[in-house]
């Protein structure tokens, strides 16, 4: 006999967070206005954490907790992502079979440009992330694409991020309705609840940054992709932005998409745009 059980077995996370009430001024902003969004987004986090300087937000959990900050400073003395940066640098100039290198695919030979990714490609009408551009460069030169989530791709993006360290995030939304739509879809994805735990990205990264989910301290959403790719102790290895999206989906018991599906590209577009002006701090070390 089947016992009547609610299908939604709320994980204990839901209980821990259920008590959170979060009243929001519900101004119906139907017109998509990224500039206003970005201003409101930053203001929300600056008000929530008045003691932090804007650039501190790119350090995620380490700006939320003194104990974690201390462990981070120790790791940064000789960071575990050091090998990825060096491997990426070496790969970046190693010619493909046809003699070309990544330098030929990217503006400014790929140096100091990470802050402009992801960008909206008006020919294709879609958001192009750095990982996608790298694999397209490989395929254009007759090479097999790399995994989007770790290993070589993480090393290449680690090196490119390293060459952009300190540069302010600089994402553009061209005057193209499809770009605005991609931005809006990214925003909707960010705020939509998913998975059996019924959480959205915002539940953790807007409503409860600085709080703990077991041992992990939640990072604020502002500047959350500025440190990508990251070496997570959890993974004992490097991971790209899409690896983080996939693992976050699984944690809330939502079935993840493929690493470069539109949903992930658009939400990265949104998160990067609203962090415009904050410095690139990748590659980052994280718990």
């Amino acid at each position: 006999m089947m016992k009547l059980g609610s299908a939604i077995r709320l994980g204990f996370c839901a209980l821990a967070l259920a008590a959170l009430a979060f009243a929001l001024p519900a101004i119906a902003a139907d017109k998509v206005d990224p500039v206003a969004d970005a201003k409101a987004f930053k203001k929300f986090f600056y008000d929530k954490f008045p003691k932090l300087k804007p650039e501190d937000f790119v350090n995620g959990p380490y700006s939320m907790d003194e104990g974690l900050h201390k462990q981070w400073v120790e790791k940064e003395q000789f960071p575990p992502y050091e090998f990825a940066v060096e491997a990426g640098k070496e790969m970046f100039t190693k010619p493909f079979k046809n003699g070309k290198t990544y330098e030929d695919c990217f503006p400014n030979k790929g140096i100091g440009i990470r802050q402009n990714y992801p960008y909206f490609d008006e020919k294709e009408g879609k958001v192009i992330t750095l990982e996608l551009a790298l694999n397209r460069c490989r395929e254009a030169n007759g090479e097999a694409p790399y995994s989007y989530v770790k290993d070589e791709m993480a090393s290449l993006t680690a090196y490119m991020a390293y060459t952009s360290r300190g540069k302010p995030m600089d994402i553009k939304i061209p005057d193209d309705p499809r770009a605005l739509a991609a931005y809006e879809q990214g925003k909707e994805y960010f705020y939509s609840r998913r998975g059996q735990l019924n959480f959205s990205c915002a539940t953790c990264h807007v409503q409860s940054p600085g709080e703990r989910v077991r041992t992990e301290v939640l990072a604020p959403a502002l500047g959350i992709v500025n440190a990508m790719p990251i070496y997570r102790s959890e993974w004992s290895g490097m991971g790209t932005t899409s690896r983080r999206f996939v693992t976050c989906n699984s944690q809330v018991r939502g079935v993840p998409f493929n690493p470069q599906d539109d949903e992930y590209r658009n939400v990265e577009y949104y998160l990067s745009y609203v962090a415009n002006g904050l410095p690139i701090s990748g590659p980052g070390a994280r718990p």
Binding site: F78, E82, E86, E90, S236
Partner: protein, 103 residues
């Protein structure tokens, strides 16, 4: 193949501070892989640092040292330009070594 050892040695008068980061899985032998099988133990057992032909620091490590291991110490003596020889051997007998210049 580039060395697996990254060393930073800096001297400030009488003390030389040394940091090392080594690329190694440091598998303890107690962890299972995604298929549920135990990953065999594979970790650096001994790491030695020599200056002027004399050991200045010797490490005996178990599987409990983190992946891509890091260690920091300091010794009296050594001056800018001196060489510091670093070498390790793991439980499978693999080894690697490098020489770093004290900055």
């Amino acid at each position: 193949m580039a060395s697996t050892i990254r060393v930073r040695a800096t001297n400030n008068g009488d003390i030389t501070e040394v940091q090392a980061l080594i690329q190694h899985p440091m598998d303890s032998g107690f962890v299972k892989d995604s298929k549920g099988e135990l990953i065999p133990a594979h970790f650096i057992q001994q790491l030695t640092f020599e200056h002027d032909g004399k050991p200045v620091f010797l490490a005996d490590w178990g599987g409990g040292i983190s992946k891509d291991p890091y260690v920091k110490f300091a010794f009296k003596g050594g001056k800018k330009g001196d060489e510091l020889k670093v070498s390790w051997v793991d439980n499978k007998g693999a080894t690697d070594s490098t020489t770093a210049k004290i900055g």
